[in-house]
């Protein structure tokens, strides 16, 4: 892999971690020579079954564990402690300090990660974030007394308050109700639209489809998707270019009516997000038919693009692990 590539914000190179905590058990390989590049300005999905090594990879990035081998590069240079200032981390569960208030937690985060800001700037930033995340009425509550959903909001706030260049989210949707999920998704998409790089670890397939631009999958500590050229010289065969069409202001019922009445081709997948319809097609001609219909009807076409995707069935295969 080329470490001088400017489009890469973070790179794991041959990262290996073997846990040898218990002398009575055989060593457990958590990461097995994992090499992966995370590109700048896009959202990467980091997937894998439970125990695949996702959290170990994240902990290695944040220097919470020491890998046995391999290196981590941030913007083509070996990751240093001070680079962590530019990273935001939302842990898997609410790992917030219990005995400090929401306000104090955010203030501490800024004090440590943005020492350059003056007191007024810090205060303004905290106030804005509390409003954005809906934590304003809870600002004087102890973090340990927050509900799970509010705790996730605080975790999001802590991960993003210092304007990081790369945000690493470990299961951000876990424990959220449907409204909370939509809000979290919107926050992630907002950051993505601002050009901030995101690594999203999740088991939620809908989130992968609607948020992630690229995915990589870990299985039993090894990177299984995308496969390296050495592993897969003739091409993976499971990767496919799907056509994504996002339309605004069209109710779901109208889309179905088109299929029934105008005999328009059926999409492979449809996701409604508020007033936005996200249609995914396998066939280019099918996608073009819908694109033409939208343009002729003067509907708002938000995006039309081809993205490398992985079939749901294939994706499921990667999550299956023998007991």
């Amino acid at each position: 892999m080329d470490t001088a590539n400017n489009s890469v914000i973070l790179e794991l190179k041959d990262l290996t971690k073997i846990y040898k905590n218990d002398i009575f058990k055989k060593p457990q390989v958590a990461l097995d020579h994992v090499s992966v590049q995370f590109k700048r300005g896009i959202c990467h999905g980091l997937l894998g079954h439970n125990g695949a090594g996702k959290t170990t990879a994240i902990k290695s990035i944040f220097q919470l564990i020491t890998p046995n081998a391999g290196s981590i590069f941030f913007k083509n240079k070996l990751l240093r402690k001070k680079d962590l200032l530019k990273l935001g981390y939302m842990p898997e569960i609410n790992k917030n300090l219990k005995n400090i208030t929401v306000n104090e937690a955010l203030a501490f985060q800024l004090q440590v990660l943005r020492p350059d800001l003056n007191a007024t700037a810090k205060k303004n930033r905290i106030t804005a974030l509390l409003k954005e995340t809906g934590l304003e009425p809870h600002r004087h509550k102890l973090a340990g007394k927050l509900s799970k959903g509010l705790g996730r909001r605080l975790s999001w706030g802590l991960a993003t308050i210092h304007d990081p260049e790369l945000i690493i989210l470990d299961e951000p949707f876990s424990g959220l109700d449907p409204w909370g999920r939509i809000q979290m998704e919107n926050w992630i998409l907002q950051k993505k639209n601002l050009g901030i790089s995101i690594i999203l670890c999740t088991h939620e397939i809908w989130a992968i489809e609607s948020i992630c631009d690229e995915i990589c999958i870990l299985k039993k500590g090894a990177l299984v998707f995308p496969k390296s050229e050495a592993q897969n010289p003739t091409g993976d065969g499971k990767v496919e270019g799907l056509f994504h069409l996002k339309l605004s202001g069209i109710p779901e019922a109208e889309l179905y009516r088109n299929i029934n009445e105008l005999k328009m081709p059926l999409w492979r997948r449809l996701t409604m997000q508020g007033f936005t319809a996200h249609l995914v097609f396998e066939d280019y001609n099918h996608a073009i038919t819908w694109l033409n219909w939208a343009q002729e009807g003067h509907h708002i076409v938000l995006t039309f693009e081809q993205k490398n995707d992985i079939r749901d069935a294939d994706l499921m295969e990667y999550f299956k692990v023998e007991a």
Binding site: L64, N96, Q111
Partner: protein, 252 residues
């Protein structure tokens, strides 16, 4: 430096909001009230009981609280340690910040205790606390700081329960080592003698309790106080350095 100060402040806030700290504040009242009861029962002079029992009580309670709180500093059961360590500060800054925060909390708790004591003394038309008294009282908190540092060292390589139990045992040994050494029978084996004398020399927590000397003579030499503090600070520095060394390599 800003990070360290933030950590000390945060640690102080967290400790002071621990329920066990409220219990400590409550037992301060109870402790002093108990002195009054003991004085009535034993017909002893109230001031004498206060200095004798109250001093020991302060040392005991502060140490118990510091063992419990310090054992939590590196306990990542709820993942909060991970959350803070994922920020930029080095692990040594984290450790020192949390430890100093605990020291400040113990000192603040002692101040509360002394304020209650002072109110009680003045309320009973007894002579109030003066500067030498305060110095001796603060020296009483040294065992709690020492045991906190030791507890932190244990927690860097073992589980919280083991840390708490070991620290309690070592605290008891520290209180008794001098007495055990003096009462060692003449026919004690060499190894027995070495062990007891080792603890009496290096882990004698009773030497920080100068209440008897203060009560009897009304004053304690500043040189003695200075020596005790320097000795204790060196011990703490050794424990914390060892903890930093072990914790630096630990996977979280």
């Amino acid at each position: 430096m800003k990070t360290l100060l933030s950590l000390i402040y945060q640690s102080f806030l967290m400790n002071f909001r621990e329920k066990i700290f409220y219990a400590l504040a409550l037992t301060h009242f109870l402790g002093i009230a108990l002195c009054h009861v003991i004085s009535e029962w034993t017909m002893q002079n109230m001031t004498e009981v206060l200095y004798d029992f109250g001093g020991f009580y302060l040392m005991l309670m502060s140490s118990l609280i510091s063992i419990i709180l310090s054992s939590k500093i590196l306990d990542n059961a709820d993942g909060s340690v991970e959350g803070v360590l994922a920020l930029v500060q080095s692990r040594s800054v984290y450790l020192i910040g949390r430890f100093l925060g605990l020291c400040v909390s113990i000192m603040a708790s002692t101040l509360i205790f002394l304020a209650i004591w002072q109110i009680f003394l003045l309320g009973n038309q007894l002579p109030g606390l003066n500067m030498p008294h305060l110095l001796v009282f603060f020296t009483l908190t040294v065992p709690s700081l020492l045991i906190a540092a030791l507890s932190l060292l244990f927690s860097s390589f073992t589980q919280t329960t083991v840390t708490v139990m070991t620290s309690f045992i070592l605290f008891g040994i520290g209180l008794m080592s001098q007495t055990l050494s003096r009462g060692l029978p003449a026919n004690a084996s060499v190894s027995q003698r070495y062990i007891v004398e080792f603890f009496a020399k290096f882990w004698n927590l009773q030497q920080y309790n100068l209440m008897d000397a203060l009560h009897l003579s009304g004053n304690v030499s500043n040189n003695l106080l200075l020596w005790l503090w320097i000795y204790a600070l060196n011990m703490m520095a050794i424990f914390i350095t060892l903890t930093i060394f072990i914790f630096a390599k630990k996977d979280i």
